[in-house]
């Protein structure tokens, strides 16, 4: 741990703040191009059907309609499928629809009203097929198949000896297998073995800025203004789909109105390009939030954990089987299932581990990236079971964890990086704030209090890369160019602060440049809580490169060596002499010269690491909860919620706090009430009116957060924090419920109905 004082203690006004509090901030949502058309999408009412025919002639002849696109157009594209690693999702349905809400046809027209009217004129003949709505149905013998032929792409690359399979059996999109030691033998030699099953729910991202894209396309160039958080990923997908060289595809990013994973990777963007090509005019497609609810979800799933423990409370081995519901198309499921499978051990020491994890196709909304990325599912199951085992053995849950936690520096698994947080210190902080050791004895009555805690864990990315430019003007004003997208996580401020600190400039002299793949350096995407660490390193190096150039220039002009000089607030100090830089630059180059620093950060494939890259940093989540459970109604009220995270070093403490609290409230909502529900083949609450997200009045009575700084691999010792708050909340609440009323909820959300059923079942 690094005890040196952080240069970032002073609170700052976020650089994107003035735009955002005055309404001046421009999102892709706000963009309008001359001659721009508006698009709408016809969606499947069936969960699984063959498309016999589509008659769009009446729609095409409606006044104001410029283009109608169907699978007949998509099938003529060089490669009409997208998905992460495994590519099975067509730009628009080809031959089949696979979930209620699947995109069947799209219209570009002079306005949205005309486009809607045109949709109603499209006649689609369906031949309904039997659907599989759950993982169990999908895996049953003789189950209907979502896909008759193999998809494009390949399995996700992992380390040597680790299993990663594409489409290993019917309706299974991908499989992950990891072993360390002989888990079966170790379990056989354990004093106790406990097997428990956990069920995780499906939620939607519900970002307030809808999915919105504007495309302008010709035979020479494709240009897209997108709310997507991965401009380069999108550029490469669009180039591949349309068979164009990637340097003829240009993606622009603006402020993004929330994403939480929902706006990562390719989705409806190529459809907008296809419409623009066919119409010969720019096209805007803005989905409604209802359509957003039908576009992507977090993975529902079933996790079965078999865990061994010795009589003295030492954990021995864990054998896990995980089935995540991938929905109808791959999206990022193949990666998510690997992460869930790898993280299922939690932050504990094991003699042996065995995991099988599957992404299973069903006729429901595709699942993909969601803040936590498999870690939320894994942490819920793992931290629930750890608590259950402690209680079964009569060991205090705190002591049980303390005994088994990974220590600072312990590798998570052999070949992976060491734990870089003091997990026990974080747990102690939660326990202290919760008053766990001073808690009142249980009181009989209908409303009972209980406390619980949990330590969630996930890795912070492996094979990420970023490049950056820092351009310094003669005035000392600087522009940072990097393709991490400002999605609300505070990247603008954090990244500019890193450049400003490196160059010794005031923060408000540094601006984050607009993002456009033609001009902005490459980046693997705004993912994995990695912006401050990976893009931050690239920017720190670019700023250091600019600084070096500046000092070399000044040393040359002053006839001294660079070692004699320091740059302080845009003056060059040489001993007691202070030289102004701007006139020195102008005298030599003429007015307007810029110094351009370049930097990059990347992490190579490492076959010895289980996931093919040693994890860059660990993201722990410490959560403590006090609940009050009403035994007559089953209602759970969270009286006190404590959430802690490790920022390595906080580049912006207020932004870190916002990340932790925002993520934790999302997890809180999912734990207690939020869920995208299906009744049979149809989602029943896929509309903002019925889909309930946390409101201000849902806040726990006391809501505390804290951020520790245990050091990290990023600039100034920073590491990522954005997903942390998502991880431990559900298990902590379940643990507190058991503490209060002695029943165990293994399925989220913990609705009054479920809690009451459990209480009545225990009587």
């Amino acid at each position: 741990m690094d005890d040196s004082p952080s240069p970032f203690r002073t609170p700052v006004i976020p650089l994107d703040g003035p735009d955002k509090v005055t309404g001046a901030a421009r999102y892709t949502f706000d963009l309008s191009l001359p001659g721009m058309l508006h698009a709408k999408v016809l969606r499947s009412p069936h969960p699984h059907s063959r498309i016999r025919s589509i008659d769009a002639r009446r729609a095409e002849s409606l006044a104001g309609v410029a283009a109608v696109v169907t699978g007949a157009d998509a099938v003529r594209l060089p490669d009409p499928y997208y998905g992460v690693a495994i590519r099975d999702q067509p730009v628009i349905a080809i031959d089949k629809v696979r979930y209620v809400g699947d995109m069947v046809a799209a219209v570009a027209a002079i306005d949205e009203e005309t486009a809607y009217r045109a949709l109603s004129l499209i006649e689609v003949q369906y031949e309904p097929l039997p659907a599989v709505m759950t993982v169990e149905e999908a895996l049953a013998d003789g189950a209907p198949l979502l896909f008759e032929a193999p998809a494009g792409g390949g399995a996700v690359l992992v380390g040597e000896g680790v299993i990663s399979l594409k489409e290993p059996r019917p309706n299974v999109l991908s499989e992950f297998g990891y072993r360390n030691g002989d888990a079966e033998a170790v379990l056989a030699g354990s004093d106790h073995v406990f097997e428990d099953r956990f069920t995780f729910s499906r939620i939607n991202h519900f970002h307030l800025e809808p999915y919105v894209n504007v495309a302008r396309a010709s035979s020479e160039q494709i240009e897209l203004w997108s709310c997507n958080q991965d401009p380069f990923v999108l550029r490469n997908d669009i180039a591949r789909i349309f068979g164009r060289p990637a340097n003829t595809v240009r993606i622009h990013a603006s402020y993004v109105g929330g994403g939480f994973g929902g706006k990562s990777f390719c989705k409806m963007e190529p459809l907008v390009v296809l419409l623009a090509l066919k119409a010969g005019r720019p096209v805007r497609l803005c989905l409604s939030l209802d359509e957003g609810l039908l576009t992507l979800t977090k993975h529902a799933g079933v996790l079965v954990l078999k865990t061994g423990v010795m009589a003295d409370g030492r954990l021995t081995a864990r054998n896990s089987e995980i089935q995540l519901d991938a929905g109808a198309y791959a999206d990022a499921s193949a990666m998510t299932v690997i992460k869930a499978g790898y993280r299922i051990t939690g932050p504990y020491r094991w003699a042996a581990v065995a995991t099988r994890a599957y992404a299973v196709r069903t006729n429901s909304v595709p699942a993909g990236s969601f803040r936590g990325f498999g870690g939320t599912q894994a942490s819920f199951a793992s931290e629930s079971q750890i608590d259950m085992i402690a209680r079964r053995l009569g060991i205090d849950p705190y002591e049980f964890r303390r005994k088994n936690l990974l220590a600072f520096g312990d590798p998570f698994q052999p070949g992976d990086s060491g734990m870089d947080s003091d997990l026990l210190a974080g747990l102690d902080a939660v326990v202290d704030r919760l008053g766990y050791r001073r808690r009142a004895p249980p009181v009989a009555g209908t409303k009972r209090r209980g406390t619980g805690f949990a330590i969630g864990i996930k890795d912070g990315g492996g094979t990420n890369y970023a490049q950056a430019l820092v351009k310094v003007l003669p005035s000392g004003r600087a522009i940072v160019n990097a393709a991490t997208v400002e999605i609300g996580q505070g990247a603008t401020t954090a990244l500019c602060r890193i450049a400003a600190e490196t160059l010794g400039l005031p923060l408000d002299w540094v601006r984050y440049g607009a993002i456009d793949t033609d001009h902005t350096p490459l980046n693997s995407g705004t993912h994995v809580s990695c912006a401050t660490t990976v893009t931050g390193l690239a920017i720190e190096r670019a700023a250091a490169d600019a600084l070096r150039q500046l000092l070399e220039f000044a040393a040359d002009r002053l006839g001294c060596s660079t070692g004699d000089l320091t740059l302080v607030h845009w003056t060059v100090r040489q001993g007691n002499y202070v030289h102004s830089l701007e006139p020195m630059i102008d005298d030599y180059f003429g007015a307007g010269y810029e110094f351009i620093g370049r930097g990059g950060a990347g992490f190579a494939y490492d076959p010895a690491a289980p996931l093919g890259a040693r994890n860059l940093f660990w993201i722990p989540s410490w959560v403590g909860v006090e609940v009050e459970v009403d035994c007559e109604t089953g209602r759970v009220v969270v009286k006190h919620l404590v959430v802690g995270a490790d920022s390595g070093t906080s580049v912006n403490a207020q932004a870190c706090r916002g990340q932790v609290e925002g993520a934790a409230l999302q997890a809180f909502g999912q734990s207690l009430f939020e869920e995208l529900r299906y009744d049979g083949t149809e989602p029943v609450n896929a509309t903002p009116l019925a889909y309930r997200v946390p409101l201000a009045s849902d806040l726990p009575e006391r809501y505390e957060s804290f951020v520790v700084e245990h050091g990290g691999p990023g600039p100034f010792g920073a590491k990522g924090i954005g997903e942390s708050g998502m991880l431990g909340v559900a298990a902590a609440i379940a643990n507190a419920i058991e503490d209060a009323v002695g029943v165990r909820l293994t399925q989220i959300p913990f609705t009054p109905e479920r809690v009451l059923t459990a209480i009545e079942g225990a009587r």
Binding site: T22, Y27, F29, G258, Q489
Partner: protein
């Protein structure tokens, strides 16, 4: 062809004479005809509150209100709050307390708070939480927003 209705609106102290379609909602009028794009449309169903603007000081969801209903009324949008470039105390509190992340809900949130503090300058936390239920923020977890509202109240925003 939908019927056009002549209306007069005062928006951010400027008077506009407009011909609006009977079907046009206020949010579209503000965004498209007056280029006041600070009025965001999230859910488009009067649930999320991102489109909140003030009509005679009262919060209204502009996405679900017909423009013609506001004939003769005075409206305030987020663009009208910083008179002469000086931030309103509520805007300043949101800025200083970092009470936003993606910022998409922020204009509606700030206007909603403006209306709250105009009526209840000493709003306590339960009332603040209750009032903010009209505005969804998916990013912040609300607590930093609640703190900004309290800071604005202390600064005499009401």
């Amino acid at each position: 062809m939908s019927q056009l209705i002549d209306i007069t609106l005062t928006v951010n102290d400027r008077s506009h004479r407009l011909s609006v379609s009977a079907r046009q909602v206020l949010a579209d009028l503000l965004r498209e005809d007056l280029q006041l794009t600070g009025c965001k449309i999230g859910c488009d169903q009067a649930v999320c509150g991102a489109c909140t603007v003030l009509v005679e000081g009262m919060p209204v969801t502009a996405c679900a209100s017909f423009a013609f209903e506001f004939d003769g009324k005075a409206l305030t949008t987020i663009e009208g709050l910083a008179a002469g470039g000086v931030l309103d105390p509520v805007q300043r509190a949101f800025l200083e307390q970092n009470a936003f992340q993606c910022g998409f809900c922020t204009p509606g949130m700030i206007l909603s708070v403006k209306a709250l503090l105009a009526r209840h300058p000493d709003a306590d936390e339960p009332l603040i939480r209750q009032w903010l239920d009209a505005n969804i923020c998916r990013c912040t977890g609300y607590q930093m927003i609640v703190e900004a509202v309290r800071a604005a109240a202390r600064a005499g925003a009401g």
